[in-house]
């Protein structure tokens, strides 16, 4: 696996949104491995002034939304004009609504977040835990990646395919592994745990 994820152009200050997401430390370290120093903050001015914003997520949708609302971060994120990268539950919260505890979300991408419902005979297990392939890659976020590159997924809910899908994965059915609408990007997999492929995607985001 040879992939160059060394940052060539570190464009300005990178902010990770601080709320109750569990994987912030891992995202911070992944950025460090590719040579990027990010700050973790819930300060509105610092987030709005950032050149790039990363919106991580591990956990349950309604408690994540509540945590955002406590600090009015929901309103701040919706107004952002710079590139924003939602990871896993962070991606899902950018959508309209999640079936996970019937949670209204930020409605930036007008899509529902649905539960995997495999046919019983299929023996497909939920949550999906493990490595799966990305295909039909589009967008500069996926630059340098081969079709069928592997990323690490841990989730029970998914964003359906839509006109903004920039990478597809198949589990139970094909769905959006990643999307890009305007300045908002979302990835369902964990870039911070997806070996060199994930590090390359983070590098691509930083260099957008």
């Amino acid at each position: 696996m040879s992939i160059d994820s060394t940052i060539k152009e570190n464009r300005g200050n990178i902010v990770i949104v601080k709320y109750n997401a569990g994987n912030i430390q891992s995202v911070l370290y992944a950025l460090e491995r590719i040579g990027v120093n990010a700050i973790v903050t819930d300060n509105h001015e610092e987030i709005m002034a950032a050149d790039k914003v990363i919106f991580p997520g591990v956990g349950e949708a309604s408690s994540a939304m509540n945590s955002l609302k406590e600090n009015n971060l929901d309103a701040v994120i919706k107004e952002l004009k710079q590139p924003v990268l939602g990871i896993c539950v962070g991606m899902q919260l950018l959508c309209t609504f999640s079936e996970e505890n019937n949670t209204p979300c930020l409605d930036i991408l007008h899509q529902p977040v649905k539960l995997f419902r495999p046919e019983k005979y299929s023996k497909i297990k939920v949550p999906q835990i493990g490595w799966n392939t990305l295909y039909d890659l589009k967008s500069p976020l996926m630059e340098g990646l081969a079709e069928n590159s592997y990323c690490y997924f841990v989730h029970s809910y998914f964003v359906p395919l839509n006109e903004y899908t920039i990478a597809t994965t198949n589990y139970v059915q094909p769905y959006s592994a990643a999307f890009n609408k305007d300045n908002f990007y979302g990835v369902q997999f964990h870039t911070e745990k997806s070996s060199v492929v994930g590090e390359r995607i983070l590098k691509n985001f930083i260099e957008l």
Binding site: Q25, Y121, K123, L137, A146, E147, Y171, R200
Partner: protein
């Protein structure tokens, strides 16, 4: 697309064992590192590793070789040593770019929370969960089922039943493995790490029967452990054993099987793996 990397060729290697709708989903190979006082034990035999006792260096080597996850088991976890463990977990998260599970002495939300905050992706619980099943439920509610791996040490007895053992296999219980695994999943365990004491250390192959029974019965992934000695054993555990992942320690540490060779072999045998 300036550079092509990590081409998997999903078309050449249809996913087997998962049925329709998961063609790209890979079976996982998981090296296990036993840790004592922040160092790997049981020994390793690698010329290309500067310090074979450093779990981070060894883990990073396996990650580079294509391991899909790592398990770190702290075999002497005591209260005094907990700081050592949390510092180690933090270093692992910092330098290793694949998911990892930490086990050993986790018996409360607080224990797990420290590991999560330092970057562990999952915790493995065993005896403490058996003695206090509510722990599974508490951890799943607090951190999600994907964070909770239930480890079971099991032995096939003369009566033909698989029983649960505690304290690293030293204490027998009257609980049958199938019953305990089912209860644990109902309580919120997200994966089962099943070690057959009959097979562990023998290098004669994994416990295919109990692994496949659990895999058919339970809606969560099964990680098979104990007995992997040759590459065909891994084929068997993914096909006949229907395991989602296979874990091994000494065969990797002593270079009896290298992960790249194993994965190439599995792919030739039409097992879908990440290469």
């Amino acid at each position: 697309m300036e550079q092509n990397i990590n081409s998997s060729g999903a078309s050449q290697s249809p996913f087997r064992g998962g049925g329709a709708g998961a063609e790209g989903f890979a079976k996982r190979i998981i090296p296990c590192l036993d840790i004592r006082d922040g160092r790997t034990v049981k020994g390793v035999n690698f010329e290309n590793i500067r310090d074979a006792g450093d779990p981070v260096e060894l883990g990073a080597f396996y990650a580079e070789q294509g391991a899909d996850e790592l398990v770190f088991l702290d075999i002497t976890a005591t209260v005094e040593k907990r700081k050592t463990l949390s510092e180690l977990v933090n270093r692992i998260a910092r330098y290793i770019n694949i998911p990892f599970t930490v086990g050993g002495g986790v018996s409360s939300i607080d224990d797990a929370s420290v590991l999560l905050k330092n970057g562990a992706d999952k915790v493995s619980i065993n005896s403490a969960a058996f003695r206090n099943p509510q722990l599974i439920n508490d951890l799943a509610k607090e951190f999600g089922s994907q964070f909770v791996v239930l480890a079971i040490d099991t032995r096939l007895e003369d009566d033909g039943e698989w029983y649960v053992y505690l304290n690293g296999g030293r204490i027998k219980t009257q609980a049958k493995t199938i019953d305990w695994a089912k209860q644990a999943v109902d309580l919120g365990a997200g994966e089962i790490l099943l070690t057959s004491m009959n097979h562990d250390g023998t290098k004669q192959g994994f416990a295919l029967d109990i692994t496949s029974v659990l895999s058919d019965l339970l809606p969560v992934p099964i990680i098979a452990s104990g007995g992997g000695g040759t590459m065909p054993h891994f084929v068997d555990v993914f096909t006949k054993g229907k395991a989602d992942a296979a874990l091994a320690a000494s065969i990797f540490h002593f270079k009896e099987i290298s992960i790249p060779d194993l994965k190439s072999y599995l792919k030739e045998q039409n097992i879908h793996v990440r290469i």
